[in-house]
Amino acid sequence: MSERIHTRIWDESPDPRSPFLGQNVRLFGYDYYGDLVGRARWVEMLWLLFTGEAPTPDQSALLERLAVALANPGPRDPSVHAAMCGGVGGSPPAASLVAALAVASGDHGGAGELRRAMSAWATAGEAFDRVTDALTDQADDTGMWPGFSPLSHHTAHSVLDCLAALGRASLARRLTWLHQHEPSLSDAARCGLSLTGVAAAALTDLGMDLDQGEALFLLLRLPGTLAHAVEQSGKRHKQFPFFALNDITRSDDA
């Protein structure tokens, strides 16, 4: 077993004053505090960390649009709901983030579904039938295509607005195709396109592999998730839904 950590990300030199003091830190070869801080933008830093290279201006422009689009999934999203359960009970922000990440990892509306949608978008080509075949290949065990929401037969206007906004980026290919074909695709799916499907198309246009796409999808949703959790922590718990419970084994429901 190795006693050392091996990494191609982090490089630093020892400081003779202490074994725990480092200096001249480099990330993927770039001078972290002397060059990146002050010159690299946040999304460029994300790109560097997940790909190992500096992004082109077109890549950082699309990633920035996606980061803004995913920054707040909203309080009806199950992962945000989970985070708010942490907030409303007075759990610390870290607990709310753990709660959100667990739910956001799922195969329905989460990173698992995103991976299936990315797989479909990456292999489908441009022909409509090829796309539907690829989506069918990646369907869940109920036949639901990834990137579509079973909650409605229609695509939300907000999802279409997001798709249009991302589609104006110069790297948009799958996004543009999706914008053009959304009505027929939703008809074929018998349900509306979801933000997860749009995010998968954007990450495919960015050239991300499945692991990179999953990492960014999980990460980029967290700012709004945490904001909603923190907001609930300042409210009375009676203002937050507890819902009714129907125990069908019980004859005299309370």
């Binding site: 950590i5 770039y30 690299a40 753990v98 819902f243 129907n246 125990d247």
Partner: protein, 267 residues
């Protein structure tokens, strides 16, 4: 599973329908049709856990076997990767709930924990009726395809010290001779005879015993999530009481960089 129509989602707004029971404030708590506090008067926590999860009241020997499977892999060792998360949380003065919760999350792993256990459950369950020849063929096909076979071989050392005490317990409880346990050991012997130097590990035996007791894959996945739990609270506590940040401090020279050479950030 059939597809859910949007109208079915609308019918679910604002309430949950369940057979599991729940909390009726000021009145009672219920579990699967029973008043929890009456039902559990003479029961142990593990009885309730298993009944609530499976809907079955298992025999005492089955319950004792399943509890032993948790016990025999509860190692309070802060080096083990999932435990290390709890220990680092303690050392960093993070809460026990977050540290232990995160350690449980990390148990959802590929080279130990849930990954090999569920793979072994699937494989042994699918091949329990196979002849020796078919069993070995299925195993070698899987090894050639995936380069690993959940439940056989081990990342740190070849021998698994949990096998002997687990089998001793299984024999004492009359559960050592079920078809899945026999299949797990048949495969161990077949692999030992061939060129595959992979001995049975805890994942295969644990999976086989759960299969023989009749638990489902979902039951088993839930159990696996916390089967290593016993080792986590003690390492959190010990390192929460030790010097802050004192667990595994890493000096600069313990990080080996093997990336690209220095370069300038583009303008």
């Amino acid at each position: 599973m059939s597809r859910v129509d949007p109208k079915d989602y609308e019918a679910r707004i604002g309430h949950v329908t369940t057979r599991l029971g729940g909390f009726f404030p000021g009145h009672s708590a219920r579990v699967r049709g029973h008043d929890l506090h009456e039902f559990t008067v003479d029961k142990r926590w593990f009885d309730l856990y298993l009944f609530s999860l499976t809907g079955r009241e298992l025999g005492d020997n089955e319950r004792d076997m399943l509890e032993a499977l948790w016990t025999f892999t509860s190692y309070p060792d802060p080096r083990i990767w999932n435990n290390r998360v709890a220990a680092l949380a303690g050392s960093s003065r993070a809460s026990a709930a977050l540290g232990i919760g995160a350690a449980i999350a990390v148990t959802d792993a590929d080279i130990y924990g849930l990954g090999p256990c569920l793979a072994a459950f699937d494989f042994i369950g699918a091949h329990v009726a196979d002849s020796d020849e078919a069993l070995l063929q299925a195993a070698t096909d899987k090894l050639r395809r995936e380069r690993r076979l959940g439940g056989y071989g081990r990342p740190v050392v070849a021998e698994d010290e949990r096998i002997a005490p687990t089998m001793a317990k299984a024999r004492a409880l009359g559960l050592a001779d079920g078809p899945h346990v026999r299949t797990a050991f048949r495969l161990d012997a077949l692999l030992a005879e061939g060129r595959w130097r992979m001995r049975i590990n805890y994942a295969a035996l644990c999976s086989a015993l759960h299969l023989d007791i009749g638990l489902t894959r979902d039951d088993y996945e839930c159990i696996l999530a916390t089967i290593f739990l016993g080792g986590m609270p003690p390492v959190w506590k010990e390192h929460n009481q030790e010097a802050a940040g004192g667990l595994f401090p890493i000096p600069v020279d313990a990080v080996h960089y093997d990336g690209v050479t220095p370069r300038r950030w583009p303008d």
